[in-house]
């Protein structure tokens, strides 16, 4: 039999962010009535205290053993476990392990995801705001703008909204009602940093008690509108290519460094991006600048298109090439022919790009006409001008 005063000892923990490395872990408690059974604590979302202990599937084999673990009881504070970079497991109430958490955040600033967890648990408004922004930029560098927005503007924002609504409920019943519909309670952050709320799913009794203006202001303080663009990625969290992409990136960088003309470098760069879509973000993250001014000015634009397409790897090749072609035609009209030569040479193999470039083969009478035959040949057009069929 258990009562509210029954003490539950932490006897093990299950890492939640992977077996190796630092991170938070799930505390596993021994059942005081049956030492072969293992339990997990369940939080009361309204009071943020332990509401119950639930049987954990798997029995006493679950988790990594912890000697002299802390105790918890129903109605008491939750127990957290954090494994730091030296492998030590810090177990206790949040206040007890806060120094270890803050020390870790200072020592390991590159662990952005864990830093966000720490900020969410023990940080102030500014710390949470900074950690959320850093995480969004880190995700963007890896998976593109869409995924970063999904994490920052939906998951993180809505979790904050739900937390505020539940903790400010008038009583436990209201908190339960709010929690029951939380997945339909949505906050949206617009491009000016303004929050709007969709709380239609709330019970009318709860809705009337909520000061939406105050709630919006609180959220706006914690969430700035972020320009989730590739340029905003800090250097220290620059994308680390996967093993698969690493060789491709290296090869691309070497070839680009050995290529003389900026028109050829741009065409070559696009070829690598199109040929290796899974490495495209890594390539653009690594080739952040070009030694020629005009090519340099094009890089952010290409990178944005690649990052936007990264979640599906469906970059619109013709659209990218057309944008580059137009920018060159406007800004470097005398180099237009060179660009077409190299675009046709490297990208003529992609049907949609080939079809596009065929529309822009220069006329014989123009200055660029001198390159007409080369471009036609690169695009697989029958014979160069002047060669008759026999």
């Amino acid at each position: 039999m258990t009562t509210g005063q029954t003490e539950y000892h932490v006897v093990a923990y299950i890492p939640m962010g992977g077996i190796e490395g630092p991170g938070f872990a799930l505390p596993v408690f021994a059942d005081p009535n049956n030492h072969n059974l293992r339990l997990v604590q369940e939080v009361d979302e309204y009071t943020a205290l332990v509401a119950a202990f639930r049987l954990l599937q798997g029995g006493s084999n679950e988790g990594i053993r912890l000697a002299n673990g802390p105790v918890a009881k129903i109605g008491g504070e939750l127990i957290y476990i954090f494994v730091s970079e030296d492998g030590n497991a810090h177990a206790g109430r949040l206040k007890e392990i806060e120094p270890a958490l803050r020390t870790f955040a200072l020592k390991c600033p590159e662990r952005i995801a864990i830093g966000l967890q720490i900020a969410e648990l023990v940080g102030n408004t500014e710390e949470r705001r900074a950690a959320r922004g850093a995480m969004a930029r880190a995700v963007m560098s890896k998976s593109g703008v869409d995924t970063a927005r999904a994490l920052y503007e939906r998951s993180t924002l809505n979790a904050a909204l739900w937390g505020k609504l539940i903790s400010s409920a008038v009583d436990a019943n209201a908190a339960r009602r709010i929690a029951g519909v939380r997945s339909k309670l949505i906050a949206t952050l617009d491009h000016r940093g303004r929050i709007s709320l969709d709380l239609q799913a709330l019970d009318a009794r709860d809705n009337v008690r909520i000061d939406q203006d105050r709630l919006k202001l609180e959220l706006e303080r914690e969430f700035e509108h972020m320009e989730l663009r590739p340029e905003s990625i800090p250097t220290k969290i620059a994308p680390r290519p996967s093993k698969v992409a690493e060789d491709v990136v290296q090869e691309a960088l070497v070839r680009l460094s050995r290529t003389g003309r900026q028109e050829e470098r741009i065409a070559l760069l696009l070829d690598y991006v199109f040929r290796y879509p899974a490495a495209s973000v890594d390539i653009m993250g690594s080739y952040s600048s070009d030694r020629a001014a005009y090519a340099r000015s094009l890089i952010p634009e290409i990178r944005q298109m690649v990052v936007d397409a990264a979640p599906t790897f469906r970059v619109d090749k013709a659209k990218v090439v057309e944008r580059v072609r137009r920018r060159f035609a406007r800004g470097m009209p005398t180099s237009r022919a060179f660009l077409l030569v190299y675009l046709s040479k490297y990208l003529g193999k992609y049907p949609e790009v080939n079809a596009l470039l065929r529309k822009h083969v220069p006329n014989k009478m123009t200055l660029a006409g001198a390159y007409r035959n080369t471009i036609r040949k690169n695009l697989g057009l029958e014979e160069p001008d002047g060669v008759s069929r026999k």
Binding site: M16, G18, L26, L55, L116, S143, L151, N158
Partner: protein
């Protein structure tokens, strides 16, 4: 992956006959979901497949999925699973359902754990609620019972058709199923009772079938992302992180997961 040979359909035919009477809404198929814990996700990705594992309910090895909804199977003894404290969700191509071994109207694990006993008669067997392997039946049920795919996805049982309106008095299984969905006072099986279950007799390969994985954000940051996830990402699978902060209620994580899956479905045109 080969389509399994046609199995002999067991159980009473009443429920299937009721389903087949419902109009086909002509909707596209929904993706299939599989929820697991972190170490389970790593195993799946490293092995390149969702393994079929021994199942007490059916006495054979099976791989479990749900149709559209990111639900997870309840265990036989009603115990909490680690995935409740930190869930990972694999989302598979809708066409995979054509290779399923069986479909059921609800989570058969919850059925065998007798979580539906307050409504379903003891004489009713899990096979009575089999949809066989007919991939048109899930959408027929959803259209007839939930009206919209959105309502099904939300698990919004307040909009479910009443048993009296949805089935005739002699359609015992259909009535019981509708009563199960609408019965007040349920505290356990609400998520699983309205999730259509899809089972496979063989392990399900990721290659060619997996479209996305929803994971805790800690697995997908710039400096320390899991290499096995990076491999999937390189292969064109969408990695969708959700904010994972320890010490929250399982329902909180599930709501975040559901929200992430919903966004993907909206983007892909399923909702």
């Amino acid at each position: 992956m080969k389509k399994p040979p046609a199995a002999k359909v067991t159980g009473r035919p009443g429920f299937r006959e009721w389903v087949d009477k419902q109009p086909d809404p002509g909707w596209g198929l929904m993706p299939l979901t599989h929820i697991t814990k972190g170490i389970g996700a790593e195993d799946i990705i490293r092995s390149g497949r969702v393994a079929a594992t021994p199942c007490d309910t059916f006495g054979e090895s099976l791989a479990y999925f749900f149709y559209g909804r990111p639900a997870y199977r309840v265990s036989g003894d009603g115990a909490t699973k680690v995935e409740a404290a930190c869930p990972y969700c694999f989302i598979f191509d809708p066409l995979l359902i054509k290779e399923a071994k069986a479909l059921h109207a609800f989570d058969t694990g919850a059925f065998s754990a007798r979580l539906y006993k307050h409504i379903l008669l003891d004489e009713m067997s899990v096979a009575d609620f089999s949809l066989d392997r007919d991939e048109r039946r899930p959408n027929r049920i959803i259209s007839a019972v939930f009206t919209t795919m959105q309502t099904y996805f939300d698990g919004d049982t307040t909009k479910v058709i009443t048993p009296e309106k949805g089935a005739r008095a002699w359609e015992f299984h259909a009535r019981s199923y509708l009563q199960l969905l609408t019965s007040p006072g349920r505290n356990e099986p609400d998520d699983r009772v309205c999730s259509i279950e899809v089972t496979f007799g063989d392990s399900v390969p990721l290659d060619g079938h997996l479209r996305a994985v929803v994971v805790p954000h800690t697995l997908w940051d710039g400096a320390a992302g899991a290499p096995w996830l990076a491999y999937l990402h390189s292969a064109g699978v969408t990695i969708e992180p959700y904010l994972f902060v320890p010490g929250r209620h399982p329902e909180h994580y599930h709501a975040l997961l559901e929200s992430a899956v919903r966004q993907l479905y909206v983007k892909w045109g399923h909702l």
